[in-house]
C-alpha cells in the first residue's frame, strides 16, 4: 500500500478535500488518524495567522521604565565618547590586507631562514598573554581550511575586541575574525556567531580569544571568566582551552574559571575532555570540575540543588528561571545577599544589578549596586486579576463596535444579533492597536468622533469605506486589519459601523 506523504495529505487537508484520498483513508487507519491531526493542524495555522498577537496586556510600565533608563545611559555613553561606532568593514578589510601583506613578508623571511614550517595563520594575534600555555591549539601545522568570519549578535554593558593589539568597543553587527580577543567588563556581555549554528556567549568579567576560527571548527581560549557555547546539531566543532584542559563541545557547554579549577557544565549533548592523555566523554546534564592539578571529576549540578543555587547560571538579563520545588521550611541565600524562604518560585535578573524573586503573591527585589549590604525589599503584589485590570484601564483607547440591533442586508440574509455582537468584538480587538499606536505617535487625535465603516460584500469580504474623524492617521493599519477579516457570506452587501471611543 502506498501511503500519501504528510505534506501531500496536508495539502488536501487545507481544503478539506478528503475525497482526493478517500479510498486510501477508508482502508488505512494510520492515515485516517494522520488526516484528522493534519486537519487540526491546518485549522491551528489558520487561527494563528488570522489573529495578531495581543500586546496590550503586556506590563508596559515595567518595560517602559527599563528601556527609558537604558536610553539615558546609552545617550550619556555616546555623549561622553564611551560608545562609538566601530570602524566600517572596509577599514577592517584594508587593515587586514595590509597586515596580511606584512605577515606574508615575515613568513617569507622565516621560511628561508631557520623554521621551515612557519604557519601563516599564527601571524594573527594568538591566545591572550594571560591565556594558559597548555591546552592551546597547535600552531605548527598550517590550517588549510578557509577562515570563518564571525559576527557579533549582541554586545552590551561594556565589551571590547582586540585585534592586532588595538582594542575597540564591540558593537552589534560587527565582524569578529580569527585571532580576536574579547574582553567584557563587570557588566559586559557579548554573544558571537563563531560558526554557522554556533554561538559563543561571553559573560561578564571574561577574557577569551579565538586563536583559530575556520570553516568547520573554532578554538576558544578562555583566560578567565565564563562562556557559554550554544551549538546546534552537526555544526562545526568548538574546542575550549582553559588551564591545562581541552574541552570539545558536542552540545551546549558552559565553562567558567574559578580558583584552581575550571568548572564545565554540559547543559545538553556531550563534551569530550582531555589534557594530553585519553579523552573522556561526558553526557549532559553534568557538571565537571577540571582542577589545576589532578584528574577531572564530576560534581552534583548546582542548578538542581537550591542550597547551592548559582546565579551565574541565570544567564542574561531578563532571563526568568522557574525553581524546582523546595522544602517549605528551607531557606537559602543568594551569594551572601540574604536568606529567602523556601516558597520561592522563580527568579530573574531584572537588570545587571537587580535580582527579582517571586514567591506566593509577592515580588521582591535585591539591588546589588545599592551599597555594601543590599537587602531584599518587597516591590509589588502579583494580583491574579491584574490582566483584567489592565484591560479595563486600556479600554478608553480602544474602538468598540456597538451596533445595537441586527443588520439588515438588502439583498441577502440578515446578520443575527449574535453575529453582530461576535464580529463587533472581533473588529474591536483587531482595530484597537491601530488606534492606540496612532495616538501614541500623535498621528491621530485623542478625541476621535464618528465611526469606522466597513463595506462587506456578498461573500463576506470587507473593505474600509471610511474612518472616523481624527483617525485618518491609522488608515493604513486599519486597512491591513480589515483585509484580514472575513464576515459571514450573506449573499448581499451591507455596511458595518464601528464606533471609536
Amino acid at each position: 500500500m502506498n501511503h500519501p506523504l504528510p505534506d501531500e495529505l496536508f495539502e488536501a487537508a487545507r481544503t478539506n478535500d478528503r475525497a482526493r484520498y478517500a479510498a486510501h483513508l477508508d482502508a488505512c487507519a494510520d492515515c485516517r488518524a494522520a488526516w484528522g491531526r493534519l486537519r487540526a493542524g491546518s485549522l491551528l495555522l489558520d487561527e494563528a495567522a488570522d489573529e495578531a498577537p495581543a500586546v496590550d496586556d503586556f506590563d508596559w510600565s515595567r518595560i517602559d521604565a527599563a528601556v527609558n533608563a537604558e536610553a539615558e545611559r546609552v545617550a550619556a555613553d555616546i555623549r561622553s565618547g564611551r560608545l562609538r561606532a566601530p570602524r566600517p568593514w572596509k577599514t577592517w578589510v584594508a587593515t587586514g590586507v595590509a597586515f596580511a601583506a606584512a605577515a606574508s613578508a615575515v613568513a617569507y623571511v622565516k621560511s628561508h631562514s631557520t623554521t621551515p614550517t612557519v604557519d601563516v595563520v599564527a601571524h594573527r594575534e594568538g591566545p591572550s598573554q594571560t591565556a594558559p600555555d597548555h591546552g592551546t591549539p597547535s600552531q605548527t601545522a598550517p590550517d588549510t581550511r578557509a577562515r570563518f568570519d564571525g559576527a557579533v549578535l549582541l554586545a552590551a554593558g561594556g565589551a571590547n575586541v582586540t585585534v592586532n593589539g588595538a582594542a575597540t568597543p564591540l558593537a552589534g553587527a560587527a565582524q569578529v575574525t580569527e585571532g580576536a580577543r574579547i574582553t567584557t567588563g563587570e557588566r559586559g556581555r557579548a554573544v558571537l556567531a563563531v560558526q554557522p549554528s554556533v554561538t559563543l556567549d561571553v559573560r561578564p568579567g571574561t577574557e577569551v580569544s579565538l586563536p583559530t576560527m575556520r570553516e568547520g571548527g573554532v578554538d576558544v581560549a578562555l583566560a578567565q571568566g565564563e562562556v557559554l557555547v550554544d551549538r546546534e546539531g552537526d555544526a562545526g566543532a568548538v574546542t575550549l582551552h582553559a588551564g591545562r584542559w581541552n574541552v570539545t563541545a558536542q552540545g551546549d557547554v558552559l565553562a567558567r574559571t574559578e580558583a584552581h579549577v575550571v568548572r564545565v557544565v554540559v547543559l545538553a549533548g556531550r563534551a569530550s575532555v582531555e589534557n594530553g592523555g585519553a579523552a573522556m566523554q561526558y553526557t549532559g546534564p553534568v557538571v565537571i570540575e577540571l582542577p589545576d592539578e589532578g584528574a577531572a571529576r564530576t560534581v552534583e549540578s548546582p542548578a538542581t540543588d537550591p542550597l547551592r543555587l548559582d546565579l551565574s547560571l541565570l544567564g542574561a538579563t531578563g532571563t526568568r528561571v522557574m525553581l524546582p520545588p523546595l522544602d517549605p521550611s528551607a531557606t537559602f541565600s543568594v551569594r551572601d545577599h540574604g536568606a529567602l524562604p523556601g516558597a520561592l518560585e522563580a527568579m530573574r535578573l531584572a537588570s545587571p544589578v537587580r535580582i527579582e524573586a517571586r514567591f506566593g503573591g509577592r515580588v521582591m527585589q535585591l539591588d546589588l549596586g545599592n551599597g555594601a549590604n543590599p537587602q531584599w525589599r518587597a516591590v509589588t503584589a502579583v494580583a491574579s486579576a491584574q490582566p483584567v485590570a489592565r484591560r479595563t484601564a486600556a479600554q478608553p483607547a480602544q474602538p468598540a463596535a456597538l451596533p445595537t440591533s441586527a443588520i439588515q442586508s438588502p439583498q441577502g440574509r440578515d446578520l443575527t444579533q449574535a453575529e453582530v455582537n461576535a464580529y463587533s468584538r472581533l473588529a474591536a480587538g483587531r482595530f484597537s492597536h491601530c488606534i492606540s499606536t496612532c495616538r501614541e505617535q500623535n498621528r491621530c487625535a485623542q478625541e476621535i468622533t464618528g465611526d469606522l465603516v466597513l463595506e462587506v460584500n456578498a461573500l463576506g469580504v470587507p473593505s474600509l469605506a471610511s474612518v472616523a474623524h481624527g483617525a485618518e492617521g491609522a488608515r493604513t493599519c486599519l486597512e491591513g486589519e480589515t483585509s484580514r477579516m472575513r464576515f459571514p457570506a450573506t449573499g448581499g452587501d451591507f455596511p458595518f459601523h464601528i464606533r471609536v471611543r
Partner: protein, 219 residues
C-alpha cells in the same frame, strides 16, 4: 504546495504611514539625544512586541525579550550605517535577539521552564475561549519548537505573519533562495510532526465541533 500565509500586511512595523527610510530621531539618537531614543522606542515598541510575540508564541517571557531588543538596538544604533531602511534593521535585530533568547532557553534544561504564570487571554473572547485558544496556540508552537530556529523563523514570518520571501531575505540578510529552501523543509517537518502528534486529536474534535456548531447556529 498550498501555503497558509494570511493576506495581512507583513507586520505592523512595515505599514507605519510615515515610516521613512531613516526617521529623524535615529540621527538624533546617534548623536546622544536621550529623548530621541525614547521617541524611537515609543514609535516602534508595539510593532517590536508583535513580532516578538509572534516568534515566541504563547509564553510569558516576551516582555523580557522586548526589553532586551531595545537595549540591543540602543547599544547598536551607533553602528547602524543606514544602508538599509531603519525598520528593516530593527526587524533584523528583533529576530536575532528573539532567536537567541529561544536558543538560550533551550540550552537550560536543568533549570526548567520560563513560564511562571499563564499568559493573559486575548480580550476579544471570553476568558474561557481565550484560555482554550492559548492551549491551541501552545500546541501549535510546541510543534514549531521542533524546528531549528532558522527554519522556525522563516516559517513563522512567511506562513503565519504573511511576510514575503524577499522581505524575509532582506530582514535576515540571506538569499531569497535560502528563504525558500528553509521554508520548504520547515513545512515538511511541520506537517510530518503534525501527522504524528496525538495531542492534536482533541483539538481536531474541538475545532471541528466548533465549526459544526458555527454552521448550525451561525455563531
Amino acid at each position: 504546495m498550498i501555503m497558509v500565509a494570511s493576506n495581512a500586511p507583513p507586520l505592523g512595523i512595515l505599514v507605519s504611514a510615515d515610516d521613512d527610510t531613516h526617521p529623524p530621531y535615529v540621527a538624533r539618537a546617534r548623536a546622544g539625544d536621550a529623548r530621541a531614543f525614547q521617541e524611537l522606542y515609543r514609535n516602534h515598541r508595539r510593532d517590536v512586541a508583535r513580532l516578538v510575540a509572534r516568534l515566541l508564541g504563547p509564553r510569558t517571557d516576551a516582555e523580557d525579550v522586548i526589553q532586551e531588543v531595545f537595549i540591543q538596538v540602543f547599544r547598536s544604533l551607533v553602528s547602524f550605517r543606514g544602508e538599509s531602511r531603519f525598520s528593516t534593521w530593527l526587524h533584523r535585530v528583533t529576530v536575532n535577539v528573539t532567536l537567541m533568547h529561544i536558543r538560550a532557553a533551550r540550552s537550560r534544561p536543568a533549570l526548567g521552564t520560563e513560564l511562571t504564570h499563564e499568559p493573559p487571554a486575548p480580550d476579544e473572547h471570553s476568558p474561557i475561549e481565550g484560555a482554550a485558544r492559548n492551549e491551541r496556540m501552545r500546541a501549535l508552537y510546541k510543534i514549531l519548537d521542533t524546528l531549528s530556529e532558522k527554519k522556525r523563523a522563516v516559517f513563522i514570518l512567511h506562513d503565519l505573519e504573511g511576510t514575503q520571501a524577499n522581505q524575509i531575505a532582506t530582514m535576515l540578510e540571506i538569499p531569497v533562495l535560502t528563504v525558500r529552501t528553509r521554508l520548504f523543509y520547515a513545512r515538511k517537518e511541520v506537517y510530518a510532526a503534525m501527522a504524528s502528534d496525538p495531542t492534536l486529536e482533541p483539538i481536531a474534535r474541538e475545532l471541528q465541533g466548533a465549526a459544526a456548531a458555527s454552521e448550525g447556529d451561525a455563531l
